[in-house]
Symmetry: C2
C-alpha cells in the first residue's frame, strides 16, 4: 500500500489554496505504489493525483523527474503532468514532505499480461526513448550496474537465509555480468521500472505511462531488457518468446536496435534480472515485521536470471 503520511483536511485545503484548480471535492488514499504516498484528489477543477515523496526518493532528483514528465508529454507521450501552483512551482511541501499534484490518467493497468499488451508496451517504450533525446539534464542511474556489487555485499551475510547457495550463485552471476557489460551502446533517459502496474490501458489500447521515479540516464537497450523481464515471463516463470517477439518488433518499428544492442540483449536481461533480485533481496532481509509493504519474493528473479544466463544471443528473445 502507499499511504505513509496522513494529510489533514486543513493542511490539504491550505495546500490547494496555492493552486488554481478549485476546491476539494474528494480525497482518498491509493493502495498502489510502494515508494511514495499517493492520493486520488478531486477538486471542482477536475481529477488529480497528489503524491507525497517519502524517504526513499532523493529530493534533489524530484525536479529532474517532474521536468522529464513535462518534456515527454510535450512530445506526445501520455504521462501524468505536474500541475504548477500560482507561483509557478510544481514541487511544493505538504505535511513535512515534498509534494506534487499531477494530472489524472484514465486507464487500468493489466493484472494479467496478454500478448496483445506487449506490442503497445514496446512502441511506448521506444517513443519514450526518442521523446527524451532532447531533455538535456541527466540523472545517473542509482540502481545501475555499479550499484549491484555493493548491494550484494550488504545482503551477503544473510542471503543464504532466503535460499541456501544463493550468495554463491549471485556472486558468480554478477562477476560474469559485470565483466560482459557492454560499452558504447546508445544512452538516453530510461523509465527503468516499466512494469505492468505502471502502464495503463483503456479499451485495449495503451492509454499512458506512470511512475517515473526510477527514471535515469542509462543504456536505452537496458530499458528494453527490463521490459522483457517485466512483461514476458508467465506466472510459472517460463519465458514467453511470443510476447518477447511482439514487444521487440513493436519497439524496433519505432527505434531499431543496433547490432551491438541486439547482441548485448542476453547480458542486459541478466543485469535487469539481478537488479530486481538484489533490491528485492535487500528489502526481504530488511523489511521490519508489521511493515505496511508486502515483501516481494527475490527468488522470482533468480528464476528469470537463470533463463537469461542460458541465452546465448538475441534469438532467445525472438530476434
Amino acid at each position: 500500500m502507499a499511504v505513509y503520511t496522513e494529510v489533514t483536511d486543513d493542511a490539504l485545503a491550505a495546500f490547494l489554496a496555492d493552486y488554481d484548480i478549485g476546491t476539494m471535492v474528494a480525497f482518498r488514499g491509493i493502495a498502489e505504489g510502494v515508494e511514495n504516498s499517493n492520493f486520488s484528489l478531486r477538486t471542482t477543477g477536475g481529477d488529480f493525483i497528489l503524491t507525497l515523496y517519502e524517504k526513499r526518493v532523493d529530493p534533489h532528483d524530484l525536479p529532474w523527474f517532474l521536468g522529464l514528465m513535462e518534456h515527454l508529454a510535450q512530445r506526445g507521450l501520455v504521462c501524468p503532468q505536474p500541475v504548477h501552483g500560482r507561483d509557478g512551482a510544481a514541487l511544493r511541501h505538504l505535511c513535512g514532505r515534498h509534494a506534487a499534484i499531477t494530472t489524472f490518467l484514465p486507464g487500468v493497468w493489466p493484472r494479467r499480461v496478454r500478448q496483445s499488451h506487449c506490442g503497445p508496451v514496446g512502441t511506448a517504450l521506444a517513443k519514450l526513448h526518442l521523446a527524451g533525446a532532447d531533455y538535456a539534464p541527466r540523472r545517473a542511474n542509482a540502481l545501475g550496474p555499479r550499484s549491484w556489487m555493493p548491494l550484494l555485499d550488504r545482503c551477503r551475510a544473510r542471503a543464504d537465509e532466503v535460499q541456501a547457495g544463493l550468495t554463491l550463485e549471485l556472486d558468480h552471476a554478477l562477476v560474469a555480468i559485470l565483466s560482459a557489460w557492454p560499452e558504447g551502446l546508445p544512452v538516453g533517459h530510461i523509465h527503468a521500472d516499466l512494469f505492468p502496474d505502471n502502464v495503463f490501458f483503456l479499451d485495449n489500447a495503451l492509454s499512458g505511462l506512470i511512475d517515473f521515479y526510477f527514471a535515469a540516464t542509462d543504456l536505452l537497450a537496458y530499458d528494453v531488457a527490463i521490459c522483457l523481464n517485466a512483461w514476458c515471463f508467465e506466472p510459472d516463470f517460463s519465458f514467453n518468446v511470443t510476447k518477447s517477439r511482439a514487444l521487440l518488433a513493436a519497439y524496433q518499428s519505432v527505434r531499431p536496435l543496433s547490432a551491438a544492442e541486439q547482441a548485448a540483449l542476453p547480458v542486459l536481461c541478466q543485469g535487469a534480472a539481478i537488479r530486481f533480485l538484489l533490491t528485492r533481496l535487500f528489502d526481504w532481509l530488511n523489511t521490519p515485521a508489521g511493515a505496511l509493504v508486502t515483501r516481494k519474493d527475490p527468488l522470482e528473479y533468480r528464476r528469470r536470471l537463470r533463463f537469461h544466463m542460458s541465452a546465448t544471443d538475441g534469438r532467445a528473445y525472438g530476434l
Copy 2:
C-alpha cells in the same frame, strides 16, 4: 490498507458487463478501510466504489447492510447506494468474493476533528436513527455486550503482554459494565462504527456517511456513546466536553434522549470503550507479522474507558 483481493482487468470487464453503467475508465485500489477490499471505479457512466467483501464479513449479513443503505437513502440520508445489475441484483460475485458496486460519495473525512464537526455528526446520527425506524429486518449486534466476555476470554492468556495488569482491570470493568447494562432503552438500527473516517465533509458541511458493515439492531443511545468515544477525545485522550455537548445537543435537536438514556450514558460509553478496546486487543495479539493492516493500539481505549468509569452521570458529557 485495504486491497486483499486483486481484481484482473478481464474479470472486472466481465463483471461490469452485467451492469448498465458503461465501460471501465479507471480503476484504483483505495488505501482506507480494513475489513474489505475497496476500489475506486470510474466508468463512462460515472464514479463508483467497488467493494469485495473479505472473510470477516458474514455473507448472510450483506443483503441486510445493502438494504439498510437503500432504505436510509430513500429517507434522505446521504450514504453510498448499491448499484443494481441488469438482473436487479446488487450483491454479486467477483474473483471468488461477494462484491457490490455502490455510488461514489463526494467529500473528505476529517483527519483532525474540530468542534464544528461534532454538531453535524450528532444531527446525522439522530437522522439515521429516525430514518431506520421502519426498516423491518433486524440484525443482532455480533459485537454487542454479550460478545465482550467471550472476547476477553480469548485474549485472557496473553492480554498482560500488552500491559501488565490489563486482564485484571478489564475483568473488573467488564463485570461492572455488564451488571449495570441498561434494559428497556429504545432499540433501532445503529451504525455502530461512526468514526471520523466514515463521515465525509464538503465545504464545512457533512456530505455523507459511509461503511455500514458494522451496523446492527441495538440500543440507539449506545450508538451515541460510540460517537462520544470516536469524536470527543483529544489526541492526548483528554475528553473534550465542548465537543461532546455540541454532539449531544445536535443529536437531541432531532431525537431527544429519554431520561433513562441520559442516565445510562456513562455505562453505555464504558461499554463502547471496552468494545473497541477488546477488538483492538484481539487484533493486536492475533495480527501476524508482516500483515497488511496496521495494528491499532488497544491501550488508547483503556484511557477512554478510565474516563468513562469516572463519570457518575450525564453531566460528565455536558448534558
